[in-house]
Subunit: 276 residues, 2 copies
Amino acid sequence: MKRSERLVDMTKYLLDRPHTLISLPFFAKRYDAAKSSISEDLAILKHTLAANQDGILETIAGAAGGVRYTPYLGKTHAATYLADLAARIEDPTRILPGNFVYLSDILSSPQDIRRIGELLATRYAYSQIDAVMTVETKGIPLAEAVASYLNVPFVTARKRSKVTEGATVSVNYISSSLKRVSKMELPTRALPKGANVLIIDDFMKAGGTLTGMEQLVKEFEGTIAGICVLCEADFDKEKLVKDYISLVKISQIDAGKRLIVAQPGNFLSQTDFSRF
Amino acid sequence: MKRSERLVDMTKYLLDRPHTLISLPFFAKRYDAAKSSISEDLAILKHTLAANQDGILETIAGAAGGVRYTPYLGKTHAATYLADLAARIEDPTRILPGNFVYLSDILSSPQDIRRIGELLATRYAYSQIDAVMTVETKGIPLAEAVASYLNVPFVTARKRSKVTEGATVSVNYISSSLKRVSKMELPTRALPKGANVLIIDDFMKAGGTLTGMEQLVKEFEGTIAGICVLCEADFDKEKLVKDYISLVKISQIDAGKRLIVAQPGNFLSQTDFSRF
């Protein structure tokens, strides 16, 4: 196989398998090529991804070595996308009764979901993450996308369990929007004990739902590796969780004036983009 | 930029944008290269994808032309994966009370979700699909993956609506597993009128839930472009829907004998793999 064909196939192979170590002998055999040729191919791949700031290829030397593709976006890509996203969220037709914001179109758009997933996977690219957790319903696509780019399983806590999940662990939490005690649960076999869990949700007002997920992680003897939300409502000042990351911050909603003000959240300042 | 670098970048660019027409002048400008060089690059890409049977690159001639990447897997890839998936589903620890089957590990695995998404996107690669629909909760990752490979939005019907979605349309249906009338609903702004909708769900017994989604599509004056499920319980003989596609068929569950029998569903016979 020619170099040009190898490069196409290798790019697709690696992109389809993020955060996975592929041995050089595997590629040498796949393409019936010398290891030195494969190394040159990978150098081209690495260089091209780095030049565009849209991915990192790492070569690990030694007998147990190989090459690993890490989804990772540069700060310019992140800043451009988040500025655009915040501008789109400022559309006043998104305002719903009770100062909620309609975001389902963004959460249904493959391009947005992919980009948001890649951004959050950049933030946690070099953290130990064993699983991504969310609670039904709207955070699920985000959690799936992040999990896909990090190549770890994702688990979905449910507000009502179903007979198709077997035994569950449940916790109670104060849902701050509804001002009442709610319950969420997770099947016992969904998450191994002691996992490092990244918590994802779509929208955060005071953060009551996030405290429910924090509790669930503790019930499974796990560690919280991070908490991320797509949108944070900054006008709800009393936050019940600390150290969360938001992609977009909504600082003002005025249904009467048909006004909604949004800007990029703390993601940009809380992410290390220096790996290129 | 050298051809080798262009090929890496072009492969990533196209894979990130399935079912999207990219003009040749766009690439010529991006790489500061002649259109004839770009055409040669694309020929290499097309040939390599076709040789591996893992994608189709189409060139559309003329002023409004360009190139489009279509996720599309060959029959061997599909058959190999589905045989493996069916074998994994035959694990008797999956049997839950009431002849339900635990599938959450598969629905939480990025590799499985990606592969299943790519398979279903192969089936509908040349159909007119405007949106993918599912109902909460477990079908959501599947619907998202299929929508991502088809590059169309996906919409999630809910069993209880939330204040964060605005006005909704609701329908009643007979949930056959529970033998009772249930309700599902979709925000009015989630789906445009008259759309061609692909319905996706994780598990089908008699298909009651699928009839609910069929009704929702009709309420939005849409057309059902297809119905796909990950797993079909073949021992529930009376199906309420016709013309569905299943990836895996479970023909027998015997909790007492700790036996579950599964094989690939009708997907392989219902899919046209002849495009390579």
